[in-house]
Amino acid sequence: MTTQGTSHIKAKTLAAALGAVAAASLAAPAMAQDVLKIGAPLALTGGLADEGHKQELVWKMWSDKVNAAGGIDVGGTKMLVEIVEYDYQTDGKRAGQLAEKLINDDEVDVLMAPFGSGHTKIVAAVAERYQIPLVACVSSSTEVFNQGFKYLFGTLAPNSGMTEAMVAEFKETMPELGTIAVYGRDDVFPKSMATAISAAASGAGIEVVYEELYPVGAIDHSAALSTIKSMSPDWVYMTGYTQDLILGRKQMEDLGIEAPIITMVTGPAYKEFTEGLGELANGVSSSTWWHHATGYTDVSGAWDSTDAFYQAFLEASGGEDPDYVHGSCAAALDVVADAVTRAGSVEPTAVRDALAATDLETFYGPIKFGENGMNEGREMPIIQVQGGEIKILYPESIADAEMMVIE
């Protein structure tokens, strides 16, 4: 009897508690206005897990810093920022579903795109349908931005900008440069870069002697590299993910390819590349969107200089260097904060219009969106591994080394 009596009381207490919770959650919408909700489908497991974790890390750094300072100014009140993330397990379809969930269930105000052009494209279609602003920090393929989407903005610059500057720079350093072999991964970004370099090289009078793509599932490059060897090109340009490029560089050495210029996009932009290759990484050049050696000062956003971001990153990562993914994604949130402040509300259309009018100097460099939503305000560095270190060859304003020809 006693037991029954107790449980009865317990049940009553529970009911009362539940009621209180229900009441509190009914009141929640009013509270929610004080928080800017940013939704992020991220690849935290699966093949792109490394990249997903990079985004997660800098977004946490950014929101911690901004919230510690009281939040961001929206129409006269301070708003805290909450980043709602889900793991889409490197499965593109799931990224789209989670973007819908973020919009409908979590009612986020702004979305951040996941890593890579392929998955960004999927999320962009969802964001466009619901008219929620989407900022993409790791997508640079024009194919993602040429679909007429009004709510999509990207902090990386178009691929073509990278290739034309590179051809001009290399041709200047090595006037006898006459032939190029292009070998790219059949995937949105690597393919787009391979196509762009072929066009840029032909345009500059460099003969494209080999131009092939390899499929996503390729685990060996002997066949292609043997063919390239027989053509002895002056310049070998390979695109792909880090694992492809590590293997590709090693197989070039194994097969005895002796090209004075080897470019791997975007291998040297990642420290995993130089770590995985050691000595063999020396001399490999690449384009990148950002490098922490670039020194922007007196800028707006969460960090007032590139160095301030770099120091904060070293602390947060336990001494590791940031790469362009970290830089671009941290700056993307500066863009969101700036747009929301200028819009004076979190209303999606107002934020979208404010984003379109962005003209911001950040630690990552200038950000200004063009007609298609891509960042136009950038001169992208050409980098080269020299003595195990990343050196900047271009643009002149931040260059710290001369181009080295591979012996």
Binding site: L48, Y214, P215, S222, S226, T227, T242, K250, G256
Partner: protein
Amino acid sequence: MGFAQILANGVVLGTLYACIAIGFSLVWGVLNVINMLHGSFIVLGGYLTYFAWASTGISPVIILPVVAVALFVLGYALQYLFINKVVTAPVLTTLTLTFGLDMILYNLMTVFFTATPRRVSLDYGRIDALGVSMPVDRLIGMGLALVLTGLLFLVLKTSRIGRAIVAVRMDREAAALMGIRVNHIYATTFAIAALMAGAAGAVFAMVFPVTTNLSGVFLGKAFVICVIGGLGGVSGALVGGLALGIIESFAGVIVGPQNAITIGFLIMLFLLIVRPTGLVGVKGYE
């Protein structure tokens, strides 16, 4: 470019392919289980080799047997504790179970090892002979793959446990009546397959960068090789692996690397139609 170079590329790659497929073929042939864990076993073997090499500097050739034994133990435990419970169920049940186990193993590896590509950098250089350039580490890998394949062949042919495995493969009921402990044989077979996968992983870590997202690629290769070569024996995996390696190598030059893998799949489809047992498969295992 020389015919010899293309052929040599294909043969070396093919031997490594055989090494991938052999354990997969054994489990499929004997247990009638399509082991979705196989690719992740190879990746696990590769990572264990990399971390052992990176922390101690010991040659991967010496680390290989240790990794292989570790995978043997893991394989035995998985089969004994989980897969044996449903091993007689229709193939879809065991496929789903190993698929689930694979997701757990894959994600655990991603959490603990991260997906960062790792490479055992031996950089032994290369040998140039008869107009063919061949990296030394690949030749070592090929040698190891052949030794492993040979050992497995001998074990199946001559040892008591090997004969028992072959007996269970031929007729489970009769083997049980002869006093063979079928569950133990199943677990041992699965463990040997895991051992071969671990060893293959160690060999691969010397030649290719290891990363978790290769597990699906390895599994796909194993599948194609088994269909081309045939199931249930060592020779099937060897023939299938060599065939695929050589086909991909020539196709890569003739029709371009983008289409080389497609050609491999087309040949698989063709064989499924005209010769479902594979090139050297045993009848009844199609």
